[in-house]
Assembly symmetry: C2
DNA sequence: TTTTCATTTCGTTATTTTACGAAATATAAA
DNA sequence: TTTATATTTCGTAAAATAACGAAATGAAAA
C-alpha cells in the first residue's frame, strides 16, 4: 500500500510530470532540467530523488554529470504500466511541447557553470 | 496538466485508495466508510469530494443517505484507464482484504446514528 | 595537489494536505 | 411542524510538501 502511495505521489506534481515527459526524449542532467523548468538545482535534485525512489527513473554517472533516464526495464509492474500510460498522455499539452522544444536547444556545456 | 495532477493526487493517499477498493465491491455511504476507516465523518466527506472532483466516483441521494459509487462509465480516458488498473492492484494487500471483510458486516442502520 | 564545478544535503520558510469537532444544511421520520 | 440524523462546510491545528540558498560532497581538470 505504501508503495502505491509513493508511486502516485511521485506523479502528482506538475514539475515531476514535466521531468518524466522530457526524459522520454533523452537522458538529462540536473542543470539541463533546471534550465528548462526554471527551478533551483536543489529543488530539481529533490524531485529527481523522489522519482527515483518511486522507481520511475535511474541515475548514471557520466564524468562530471549525473544523467537521469527513464527506468524502462523496471520489474515493478505498476511502475511499468504507469510509464507506458504516461508515454501516451500529456503529449498535446502546450507546456509539455514547449519544454521539449526548449530541451533541444539546451546545451549542458553552456548552461551548467552557475 | 492540472487535471493529471488532480487525478494522481486523488490516488496518492492510502485512505482514498482504501475507499476506492471498497467501492469496487458495492456503493457505500459516508458513515459506512467512516466505520471501516475509523475517521471522522467530515474527513471521509472531504476524501470523497476529492475523489469525485477527480472523476473517480459519483454520489447519488438515496433517502437519508448519499451513496457513493465508482464512476465506471466516465468518458475521461485517463480516469477509466487508472480505474481499470486499480481493479487489478492492491487485491492481495492485507489492509484491503481486511477492509472488505469488515465492510460485509457493516450495517448502515446500526452504525450511523452517532 | 589544488581548483573547478555538478550535484546533493541541510536548514528554513511558505504552502498544501489531512485531520478533527462544531455548526450549518437537508431530508426522513415522528 | 418538530425531531432525528446523514452529510457538508467551516475554522483550526498538525503534518507533509515544495521551494530556496548556503554549505558539503565528489569527481574531473588544471
Amino acid at each position: 500500500m505504501r508503495n502505491y502511495v509513493k508511486i502516485f505521489k511521485a506523479l502528482s506534481d506538475s514539475n515531476r510530470l514535466r521531468i518524466l515527459k522530457m526524459l522520454e526524449d533523452c537522458p538529462m542532467c540536473v542543470c539541463e532540467i533546471r534550465a528548462v523548468l526554471n527551478l533551483a538545482n536543489s529543488t530539481v535534485s529533490k524531485h529527481l530523488s523522489l522519482l527515483r525512489d518511486a522507481g520511475f527513473i535511474l541515475d548514471e554517472k557520466n564524468g562530471k554529470w549525473v544523467d537521469y533516464k527513464l527506468n524502462d526495464k523496471t520489474d515493478e509492474p505498476q511502475v511499468r504500466k504507469l510509464m507506458k500510460l504516461m508515454t501516451e498522455w500529456l503529449n498535446d499539452e502546450a507546456r509539455i511541447k514547449a519544454d521539449k522544444r526548449k530541451l533541444e536547444i539546451v546545451d549542458r556545456n553552456k548552461i551548467c557553470n552557475i
